[in-house]
Symmetry: C2
């Protein structure tokens, strides 16, 4: 219905996650009226991101080099490895400044419904990293949902026989939240995981 | 927090209408994992759309030439001019195949709250198009909302003294809808605009 190249743009935008046909149209019309230099900047950064961003050959974190900043950083504790689903989880954990070990990014979580099993994740690349005995603890920091729990359970069964300490992030009440608004499962876990008051 | 160019991409995406910080992140991560050729295609179409798409010098419709397809089409009725807010309204009306005249795209609607008055719209370019007497009817097809109504009222006052026939699109029940779900204003207008049964 639209002039050729406008329709092409709407089609391309509509392929992005969370962008439906109406949003794609809205973004396209915005871009039609935007300054050419602004649209050019978006196009350039798209090209640049694909040219420059790779995945770390060791941990599969996003990296502009063969190995990522964290894997190259000699000050990081090599004995603790934190297994996460995605790059954005690395960023979230780094933001806390609580963790000084290294990461392993699985690239997703086990989800039979989406056809994702351990073979589709970077599980096989995790094993050689644990072979030489440097890593003594693996923290399974998968998402606290069905797929994340399944992934953590799978990895626990795989790693425990290797004599490693395998840990999970604590479940409980989110800080700053209201107890009465916590869902039953979270509140139940907060009870189960209660600690002695200091 | 993210690697330089990834953050740049998130920032650029976050400037698009309707794309919040979380959506921008989600789209960015999708693009990080997408095939380079797919991302390249999006970048190319962005550049192409700005290079090729102009606005018609007569009616301000989107066009790949100096004058748009509709203005160039000799079979279109030059005596009826349909005034719309945006390019997408032209597309919507063309889809009905009910209208065979020409268009004038205002580029928006009067909205004092957003600082948009007649001077920010293509109103002054409308006047010369009505000067030679070819156009005998102007259809005001602005949106049926506050800004659209204000714009239509403004244009009516401007055009009526010129001796033109000035019309508005009919208000009433949407076809395929349920009467009981129509809002009061729409239902009221449907009554006010009732016609003899054939």
């Amino acid at each position: 219905m639209y002039e050729g190249v406008v329709q092409d743009l709407i089609d391309e935008l509509g392929r992005l996650p969370g962008v439906g046909p109406k949003s794609a149209q809205r973004i396209a019309f915005h871009l039609l009226q935007a300054e050419p230099v602004d649209v050019r900047r978006l196009a350039d950064v798209l090209i640049e991101v694909k040219a420059r961003v790779k995945f770390c050959s060791t941990c599969f974190n996003v990296s502009e080099d063969e190995r990522c900043r964290i894997c190259r950083d000699e000050r990081r504790d090599p004995s603790v490895l934190c297994v996460v689903e995605e790059y954005k989880d690395v960023v979230a954990i780094e933001r806390t400044r609580e963790f000084r070990g290294r990461y392993h990014v699985l690239g997703g979580a086990i989800s039979p419904i989406d056809g994702i099993g351990p073979d589709q994740l970077h599980v096989k690349e995790l094993m050689p990293r644990l072979a030489d005995g440097t890593v003594t603890e693996v923290i399974l920091a998968t998402d606290p949902n069905l797929e994340g729990e399944a992934t953590a359970t799978y990895l626990t069964r795989l790693l425990l026989p290797m004599g490693l300490r395998v840990t999970r992030l604590a479940s409980g009440l989110p800080v700053g939240g209201d107890l009465e608004y916590a869902d039953e499962v979270t509140l139940g876990r907060a009870f189960a995981g209660r600690r002695s008051a200091e």
